[in-house]
């Protein structure tokens, strides 16, 4: 009896030694334990391709936006940037940013971030008056009240709504199902949406976009220079960036 038990154990040990050493060791041999641990960290993060059911359509719109950028936005923004000094363009950026107050205030309060909602209110009042319609930002520079960027997509995420899947919107760029819904809500919280003239609304929105592009010239080109497949990279980057914003 004893002999059988011992040889059983011996066999088991031999089995484990022979086979148990193969699989993880192959990797950690090359990598060492540190790398294997880090590998697990990255492996447990997002598995990309399985979560992109609209991929063919997304790629089409991605290309559309890419062309739009290089054929229209970038050339015009480049010329604009040569004419208008950076300080002016930053001021314009602040003006449009100030108009984002209702959306930010609503999202902050829906997330229970009442102190931040207060900050946003204070910023709006100060910047619209002393800051001359938001072109300047005395709320931050003098009073050190920091902005509290939030949007309804983040609010939905805080309430447990999953991102759904990636959606690339024409003109607007990468998003996901949840954030699209968030954008719709934020549309109704945007003062510009309540102007009567369609032309004026488009002009303002277009100007905002052009101004933003002019402040970030060359970045998209750089990103493309560093990737073989900008689409997959951007989808991954968008997700990570949003996750970071939501956690904040």
């Amino acid at each position: 009896m004893k002999c059988a038990a011992m040889s059983c154990r011996g066999l088991t040990l031999l089995f484990l030694f022979v086979f148990g050493s193969f699989v993880p060791k192959a990797f950690s041999d090359e990598f060492g334990d540190v790398a294997a641990e880090l590998e697990d960290e990255f492996a447990s993060a997002v598995p990309a391709s399985s979560r992109d059911p609209l991929r063919p359509l997304n790629r089409v719109f991605f290309t559309v936006n890419d062309r739009l950028y290089f054929w229209v936005l970038e050339p015009v923004a480049d010329r604009y940037a040569r004419i208008a000094p950076e300080a002016v363009r930053v001021a314009v950026s602040r003006f449009f940013d100030n108009l984002g107050f209702p959306a930010r205030a609503v999202s902050n309060s829906f997330q229970g971030k009442f102190a931040r909602t207060g900050h946003e209110c204070a910023r709006f009042v100060v910047n619209t008056t002393v800051g001359i319609l938001g072109f300047r930002d005395p709320a931050e520079t003098w009073l050190e009240i920091e902005p509290a960027p939030e949007d309804f997509g983040q609010t939905l995420a805080v309430y447990g709504v999953g991102e759904g899947f990636p959606v690339v919107l024409p003109i607007l760029g990468p998003a996901n199902v949840r954030d699209m819904v968030g954008m719709v809500v934020d549309y109704f919280l945007d003062p510009i949406s309540y102007l009567d003239s369609f032309r004026l609304r488009m002009a303002l929105r277009g100007s905002d976009r052009l101004n933003q592009v002019s402040l970030h010239l060359g970045e998209y080109e750089q990103l493309k220079a560093g990737t073989l497949d900008a689409y997959t990279f951007i989808i991954s980057a968008y997700r990570q960036n949003r996750d970071g914003q939501i956690k904040e």
Binding site: V34, A43, S93, T232, F233, S236, N241
Partner: protein, 203 residues
């Protein structure tokens, strides 16, 4: 006897804390020095040829980043073993060049004044260092992830998160997607072409 062991325990804790603080300082210093050096090189690059500048930056990058670990992590358990030894070396070189091409152009816009390097946090051989870059309208937050290399005991960077976007994670997704549909040879061919194309295009 008990008081001696209590003192010994107390000393261990205190010294342990000290060691932790030293480690944090070391890790932070690695990042700070690297950032200052690279920014310095980029700022003074007007008088030098592109090759000299690239060489200097490359030297810093190779010293401070654990490029072989990064190459392994970016392809991961699934794809890394598929490469031959030659291909692994080639990939590592291409990957580093790719990173330099995409991230350093932006870096040249900033000076040391714009960069604030925070304290290192972490334990167990891993540290993270936060850094903020602000200039004009720009505000970028960076998170450097470091680990202590076993052989040399030095702290090396293995990933950087730029506004919460991890370089390793993003490229991992990208390359994984390509390798799922293409052979290793095709993949490396694409990388070679891309790097050559980028280097030949005026930035």
């Amino acid at each position: 006897m008990k008081s001696v062991s209590m003192i010994a325990l107390f000393l261990c804790v205190v010294m342990g804390c000290d060691i932790r603080a030293d480690e944090a300082q070391e890790a932070r210093q690695v990042v700070k020095t690297a950032v200052d050096e690279v920014l310095g090189v980029l700022k003074n690059s007007a008088s030098e040829s592109a090759e000299v500048r690239d060489e200097k930056v490359n030297a810093v990058v190779r010293r401070v980043f654990d490029t072989s670990l990064m190459a392994k992590l970016v392809l991961g358990r699934e794809y890394w073993p598929r490469l031959s030894d030659e291909q692994k070396t080639e990939f590592e070189t291409l990957f580093v060049k790719q990173l330099q091409n995409s991230y350093l152009g932006k870096a040249s816009m900033f000076t040391e004044r714009d960069v604030v390097v925070g304290d290192a946090v972490g334990q167990g051989g891993k540290m993270t260092v936060k850094s903020e870059v602000s200039s004009g309208a720009e505000h970028i937050s960076l998170l450097y992830k470091l680990h202590r290399e076993r052989e040399t005991g030095e702290w090396k960077i293995y990933d950087v998160e730029i506004n919460d976007v991890s370089i390793i994670a993003s490229h991992r997704t990208e390359y994984g997607d390509i390798l799922a549909r293409n052979s290793v040879d095709e993949f490396l061919e694409r990388m070679r072409n891309k790097v050559t194309e980028t280097e030949n295009t005026p930035q």
